[in-house]
Symmetry: C2
Subunit: 211 residues, 2 copies
DNA sequence: ATTAGATTGTCAAATTATTCACAAGCATAC
DNA sequence: GTATGCTTGTGAATAATTTGACAATCTAAT
């Protein structure tokens, strides 16, 4: 399989979101030109991106919204169920666990774990919060694919290293650190403070306009 | 001022994080070569990136960690205080408000707002959660620069549009929608579900290795 | 003071990503 | 059934980004 560039992958979820909206509004077909105007990108980029995965469109017609939506979903792996746990059941962990749309996309949050005894036992949509000590046996027996790490960097690093031995294939990492993992393990970082710093960069740049 | 590419900006917070750690460990100087090995990037890229903003290093010596840390901080606008509010005081909003490190970087979370009467009045580190109806007067009188939108897309869009008229200069947008704002207003998006989709793309790609 | 070694800043080359442009081919109206 | 108009897929051109290479020059050892 041809290697797809990261720039393309990063754009797919946005296409998926727009197609979902079009679908919800009963739109049956869309041309790259119309979609490009909606999304503020070039039509050429849309066509080029989609062509990495095959010809989904038809000359003189455009793309079938439903079909393209399903195809992109399948490219993104959303046609399969993904069993996840959340490690760190503070506000952020609970926010993720409670986010209903993940369910809709095939993400099953099977359990939450924490080391804080005030949280352990607390009921959530996804069952009672479990003791972090149980997490290693849990992932071995429950076939867990993705671990969301929503806790400070020191425990996150330590726990992630131990979880590697338990067969976890992917981390969704909210801790402010770069996890070091073998090549066959995926790490997707969400560094909120970095995103906020990009924002303040743009703010100070903005305040210089014309200077 | 020369226009700096987005690719460069996105890397600055990571440099900043590594420099902060070096500083905390008492490291005084660092060469682009050593830093490149720590960070898994090329030394050339580090030098090229930094040179967009001026010559911070010295031949035969490298970079002074403290000085470079401060300089990057100032480029990112972290030398100034930024007054923020959080709109949507659910788990995600509270997670952001409670994140202590933001304070350290000059982000002052002045208040939280919500429309849910069960949340209004609840005490947090940043004062009682206020009624969303009060937000418009609040930003006008309290000189608010950044609004974090941690609520579903429909109310997020509606409230953001009204806040534009109140002089808000930047949105940190967690809602799953692309806000449409004038050119002089900044939107920084954090689309969690899109990040999770990138992860599952990589997972399915991974499972194909060698096929 | 001199010298050997290290490391930057920067120019040029290589690579990657985006946009342009158009032939090929389908849809639709007549 | 034919003609017109639309829209894709794709090869080529352009633009942006990353990497390589090295002269200039600083540090530090003797």
């Amino acid at each position: 399989m041809k290697n797809i560039s990261n720039a393309v992958i990063k754009r797919l979820p946005r296409y998926y979101r727009y197609l979902d909206e079009l679908r919800a509004n009963g739109v049956e077909r869309i041309s790259s030109g119309d979609l490009s105007r909606m999304m503020n990108v070039t039509a050429s980029q849309i066509r080029q991106d989609l062509n990495n995965f095959g010809g989904f469109g038809q000359q003189g017609y455009g793309y079938n919204v439903n079909y393209l939506f399903e195809e992109i979903g399948s490219i993104l792996g959303l046609d399969k169920e993904h069993r996840m746990i959340v490690v760190g059941a503070g506000n952020l962990g609970q926010a993720i666990a409670n986010y209903a749309n993940f369910d809709k996309r095939g993400f099953k949050i099977v359990a939450l774990f924490d080391s804080n005894h005030e949280l352990i036992g607390k009921k959530t949509r996804n069952g009672e919060i479990k003791d972090i000590e149980e997490v290693y046996d849990f992932v071995k027996t429950e076939n867990i694919e993705i671990v969301a790490l929503t806790l400070p960097k020191e425990p996150a690093t330590e726990i992630a290293m131990k979880l590697l031995d338990c067969g976890v294939k992917a981390f969704w990492n909210f801790a402010h650190t770069d996890l070091e993992v073998p090549d066959n393990v995926i790490v997707e970082n969400v560094h909120l403070s970095e995103s906020l710093m990009e924002l303040t960069y743009k703010l100070s740049e903005q305040s210089q306009v014309g200077k």
